[in-house]
């Protein structure tokens, strides 16, 4: 069970987050001010902390600073009503692992929290495997079973991201940020088009589908059922 600490002073937002996380089966702890949040984050082990940028008592970024100074490396997702890029950079620089601006969709937050919680700890892996997929990170070659996949570099990166977060829902915004490195609303079905191309290459005719679309949220790489 995923243990999540939510530090959020706005009652409505907090209730929304707690409800959504509980429904997804997370164990949620809520703190509504800075000092209490900091104490809790240091006292108990959590998989992820979601941290509001503006908190009574202790500012979110200052809290993050102290948390990192105390040697706590729990992944932290900073939530903020400030959407500007500069704010985001400040949030990440202060030791945050991800940044989401308010208002947000619950599904988007949940997907990001799951990805943070299950962040691959070993970055030195040279070969990624999922179901019958095999990605050689050194040779930049991908195979499905015996079939070599003919992927462009960006498609390889996209597939790598999906494999690293297999069985987790990833949103379009997350893919656009993580795979392309851009953070704006691409408007059209841009990500879908790229994913569609990748899907046609990965899921060949007659093969069980690995890449699935999650309606209204994003995509998930899922192992075929038995």
């Amino acid at each position: 069970m995923l243990r999540v600490l939510v530090i959020e002073d706005d009652g409505e937002t907090a209730a929304e987050i707690v409800e959504d996380f509980s429904a997804a089966g997370f164990a949620v702890t809520l703190e509504t001010d800075g000092p209490a949040g900091l104490a809790r984050a240091q006292a108990e082990p959590f998989d992820v902390v979601t941290l509001d940028r503006m908190l009574p008592g202790l500012d979110g970024l200052a809290l993050l600073d102290r948390l990192r100074a105390a040697g706590v490396s729990t992944p932290v997702l900073v939530l903020s009503a400030l959407s500007s890029v500069d704010e985001r950079i400040r949030g990440l620089r202060a030791g945050g692992d991800d940044y989401l601006s308010k208002p947000f969709f619950a599904a988007e937050l949940r997907a990001r929290v799951e990805v943070l919680a299950r962040r691959p700890s070993d970055r030195d892996i040279t070969v990624l495997r999922f179901a019958d997929l095999q990605l050689d990170l050194i040779g930049r070659a991908a195979r499905r079973g015996e079939r070599l996949l003919d992927l462009y570099p960006r498609e390889f990166k996209l597939l790598e991201f999906l494999v690293r977060h297999a069985e987790q829902v990833v949103t379009r915004a997350m893919l656009f940020e993580q795979v392309w490195g851009y953070r704006f609303d691409p408007g059209t079905n841009l990500v879908d088009v790229h994913l569609g191309k990748l899907r046609r290459k990965v899921d060949g005719p007659g093969e069980p589908a690995l890449i699935h679309t999650v309606r209204g949220t994003g995509f998930v790489l899922r192992a075929p059922g038995p």
């Binding site: 959407s83 500007s84 890029v85 500069d86 960006r154 392309w180 851009y182 953070r183 704006f184 609303d185 691409p186 408007g187 059209t188 079905n189 841009l190 088009v193 790229h194 569609g196 191309k197 209204g216």
Partner: protein, 475 residues
Amino acid sequence: MTAGPTLARRPPPRLRRLRLFQTTAFRWTMGSAAIVGIGIAAMGAFFYWQTVGYFTGRLDAGLLLEARSLRMESRRVLILRLEKSLTVDPQGNKAYGLFGPDGARLAGDVDGLPATLPPEDQPAPVTVNWSRHGAPESVDVRAVALPLADGAVLFLGRSAGDLHEIDAIVKRAIGLAALPAALLALAGGAVISLGTLRRVDAVWRACSLIMEGEFHRRLPAGRRHDEFDRLSEMVNGMLDEIERLVDEVKGAGDAIAHDLRTPLTRLRVRLERALDPGARHAPVSEVLAKSVADVDQLLATVTAVLRLAEVEHGRRQGGFRAVALGDVIEAVAELYAPVAEEKEIGFALDRGGPAVLLHGDGDLVFEAVANLVDNAIKYTPRGGRVGLALEAERGGAVVRVWDTGPGIPPDASEAVMRRFYRLDPSRHLPGTGLGLSLVAAIARLHGFALEIGSRPGGGCDVRLRCWTAGAVEAS
């Protein structure tokens, strides 16, 4: 919330009307009048001092001359001459006296010697008594006292009556000149001030009306091109710009409301029908799916408005650094080529010329170019062509995005950059009508020029001219 909604417009601050004596013109006139007054007084004093000096000099010279000729005479002749001299004294200003060694008067009209005798060779002011007009009276004279050989003393004095008259004349002259001068200064100051006041009053009236809500009004500006006209022209230029901005904000507000209203109405009608048990409607899941799509469209619009505001007001120039334009173009091409491919549109990338580095925000430049390419693909029908090209230019570069779509009529090339403006034929396509506004805002932030033109064979030819001073060509 501490205060309730305030519906009444706050009354504009009242301008206090300027009074005559408060005008700068009046104060300056008074100031210069005072300076002129001091000048006149100083001149009068100088004139007085010079005149008195001159007359005193003449008096003294006469005295010394007379003394020199009298002291040579014998006692008898001296007395005779003294008497004679006193009888021919029409102005009556001679105070002569010959006194024996014992102090007794031997001749003359002076009653007695003064306590301290003036020197014999340098006339000095002395007060003596005489009885010329019957009763003894004291008189101020300039005098010399000559000791004679036998111990007698010859006193020769001349009263300074002339000097008193000169004194009076000079004072009268100053007084006569100063009064009209002061009156003239006052009148002049008032006239100049009234002129100023009239101009200021006109501005005051215009400003009051503008503050009361007549925003189209302007300050009066004459043809004289004097300092008042220059000021009015400047303020009017400022008012024009403010009015334009206010109109734009109003227009944007109206446009947002209008743009949100249509999908909201559609959404409401659909949901209401689904709720009505008697109405025929599509299956609920379909109704909900369509509703979600409508809400997504609404959200996209609101997000785009916020994004536009962020770019326009963020002034993110702090994040400017060197951007390799070629890399940006390639990344955009890589991102959009599959989209074009899916729509069976031929996508041509041409990044010729040397590498171009410019000073800017790489993410925003990317967003701008991506928006242009996105538009091109969106509005080009299946089977058409879209091109993205980077052309080096003196001092910068041009990013060209062209397509074989319907194009933009020349008379609309300005309008499409306005918020929410959409050409009628494209209203059915998804979009917020904010894409080009955003590109224009990003271009403005960087000092780029966005030009929307047409291709000879039909279709758009949009150019983003990056001619910033910071643009450098690297080999």
